[in-house]
Amino acid sequence: MNNLLWLVPTLPLVSFLILALAGKHVSRVWVAIIGAGSVSLSAIITLIIGISFLSLPPATGNYSQTLWTWMQVGGFNPKITLFLDALSLIFVFVITFIGALIHIYSVGFMADDKDYSRFFACMNLFVFSMLLLVLADNLLLLYLGWEGVGLCSYLLIGFWYENPANGYAARKAFIITRVGDTAMAIGLFVIFYQFGTLVIPDVLAKAPILWHQGAYMATITALLLLAGGVGKSAQLPLQTWLPDAMAGPSPVSALIHAATMVTAGVYLIARMHVIFQLSPIAQMIVAVIGTATLFIAGLSALTQYDIKRVLAYSTISQIGYMFLALGVGAWTAAIFHFVIHAFFKALLFLAAGAVIEALHHEHNMFKMGGLKNKLPVIFWTFLVGSASLAALPLISAGFYSKDQILWYAWASQSGNPLLWFIALLGAFITALYTTRMMILVFWGEAKTAIGHHPGKLMTVPLIILAFFSLFAGFIELPHNFGHFTLFSNLLHQVLPETVLKAGINTELQFQVLASLSTFGGIYLAYIFYYKQPQRIEKLKQSGFAMNLYFFWFSGWGFDKLYNVLIVKPIVFIANINKNDVVDKLYQGITFVTIRLYQSLSFTQSGSLRWYVMGLVIGAIIILSIQIML
C-alpha cells in the first residue's frame, strides 16, 4: 500500500491546478465534482492505506515514499519524502475525512457565489499543503506545507475581496503566523547546525545523544519550535488573528480555523516530542501557555455577540487544552482531543454557517432566536456539537477527551494542581458560553425571518459529523470505565506513554468534579439567559461589570497592545522616511556644488578693470611665493 501514499496529496494538487488554470471554462457542476471529488477520493485512499496500516503494520512502523531529491547542496540534501506513521495517519485521516465533508457542504453553501472555482481551487490547495505538512519526513518539507497552509488561509480569509476589512483580516492572519514561522525557521537553522540534517527521524534519534537532559540548546530549539506552533495555532502571544479570520466563508472557518490548520502547532510539538522531553522548562512553558490561553479565550468567548467569533475564541480555548496536555506530557490525550475537537468544532462551524445563511447573513446572536422548530436538523446537530464542546458527561465524545486532559493535568508526572484547577474553571466557562450560544440562537422568540432552508448537501455532512461527535469518544475510555484504549495503543508506537505521579488512583473523583463543573455551567447559563434575563440588565448597571465586559470582548486588549507596541512605530517610521533620508545625502551634495558654482560665477563681473586687478593680484602672489622660496 506504500506506493498509493503519493496519491493522497497529489489528488488535491491536481484538482487545484485544473481549477486554477481552467476554472472559468469548467461548468459549476464539474467544478464541484473535481473540487469535492478529489478530496473525497484521497479520503477513500487514506482509508485503504489506514486499514492496511492497522491490519498489517509495517516493520519500521511507517510507510515512506521518496518522490525526488529536492536539492543537494554540500551536507544539506532534503528530499521530497512522504512519511506516514501512526501520528500522521490520524492527522491525514482527520484532514481528508473532515475535509471531504466540508467540501461537500461547501458545494451547497457556496452555490450562488460567483468565484466558485477560485474557492474550490484554494480549498484544494489548502488540503494539499496540510497533507504535505503532516506527511513531510524532513522539517524543510514540513516548513513548505507550513507556509503553504498560511498562504491558503490568507487567500480564503480574504476570499470576498471587495470588502477591504476582509483583506485586512487576511493580511493580519498571514503576518502574525509569519512571525511564528520566522521563529520556527531559526529553529530549523539551529537544528541543522546541531545535527547536520533536517530529517525528522534522524533528528529525533540524535537529539538524546547530543543533548543531555535540560541542555541549553535543547530548550532554545524547543522554544523556537513552540513559537512556530504558537503562531500557527493562535496561542497566547499570537492569537489575535483567529477571531478576525472569521471574515472568511464558514466552510473555510470550519476546515482551516477549527479542524486542521490551527492544530498544526499541536502536530509539530507532538512530532518533535523528543526535543520537548529533553527540556522540561520548555514543556512547562507549553503547559503554561496552553492554560493561560484556554482561560483568556474562554472568558473572551463569553462576551461575544457574533456567533462565529464565539466559536473562534472557543477554538483557541480548546487548542489551549491540547497545548496543556502536550505540556504535561499527555501526548495521546492531546491528539485524542484534537480528533474529537476537529469533529464537533467543524460541525458547529458548519451549522453556524447554515444558520447565518438562513438568516440572510445575520451574524449577531441577539438578533437570532426561536430556530428550534424552524430548522430542526440544524438544531439537533448544533445541540450534539455543543454538548460535545461542553463535554456533557458520558454521552458526548468531548467529555472523554477533555476529561482525560483534566485527569492527566493533575495526575501526570509534570502536571500540578494549579493547571488542573484553571483547566476545570475553563471547562466550566466552556459549558457556560456553549449553553448561552444554544439558548440565544435556538430558544426565545424569532427576531429575523428564515430566508432560505439549507439543502440536502449541507445537512448530510452535519448529520455524519454529529454522529462522530457523539460516538467517536468511545474508542478511548478512561480506566475506570473498562480498559478500552484503542486510540492510545495505536499512538504509543510513535508517542511516549504518559508517566503518572506515584500513588494516584481515584480517577473517579476527577470525573465527577468535571461533570459537576459542566452541569454548573449549563445551569448558570440557563438561569441567566432563559429563566431571568433581568439579571443581565442588573449586571449591565454596575460599571465594573461593563468595563470587564469590554475588556474581555476585545480579547483582553491584545489587539490594542500590539497596535500601540508594534504597528504604530513601524507605520510612523515608514511615513517620516517616505522618500529615503539617504537620498537627502546625495541631494545635499548637489546643493553644495550648485551653491559653490554660483558664488564663483559672481566673480565674472564683466568689468575689465576687475580682471586686470585680478591679473595684478595673481602676479603679486606669484612674485611673493618666489620671494619666500
Binding site: L600, S601, F602, T603, Q604, S605, G606, S607, L608, R609, V612, M613, L615, V616
Partner: protein
Amino acid sequence: MKSSISIEMVMLLAGLLFVLGIAGVIIRKNIIFMLLSVEVMLNASGLAFVAAGSRWAQPDGQVMFIFILAMAAAEVSIGLALILQIYHQHKSLDIDKLKEMKG
C-alpha cells in the same frame, strides 16, 4: 661706444615703466587712457628686450623689439577702431559701460 650702464638699472627702469603702465590701465576709466597705458607697457617690454640684446651683444633683442613694434602697430590700429565703434554705439568711452560679458 662702450657705455657702462649696468643691466639691472635698465631692467629696473623697464620694470618701473611696466608697473606704471599697469597702474594706468587699472586707474583710468577712459578706454583711450587705458590704451595709452598698454602702449607704455609695450615700450617697457621692448626696452627690456633691447637691454638684454645689447647686454649679450646679440641682435635677437632688437629683432624682438621690431616684432613688438609690428605687433604694437597692429594692436593700436584695431584698438582704435574698436574705440571708434564703442563710441559710436555707446556714445561714451567709459569702460564700465561694457558689462554685458558677465558670468
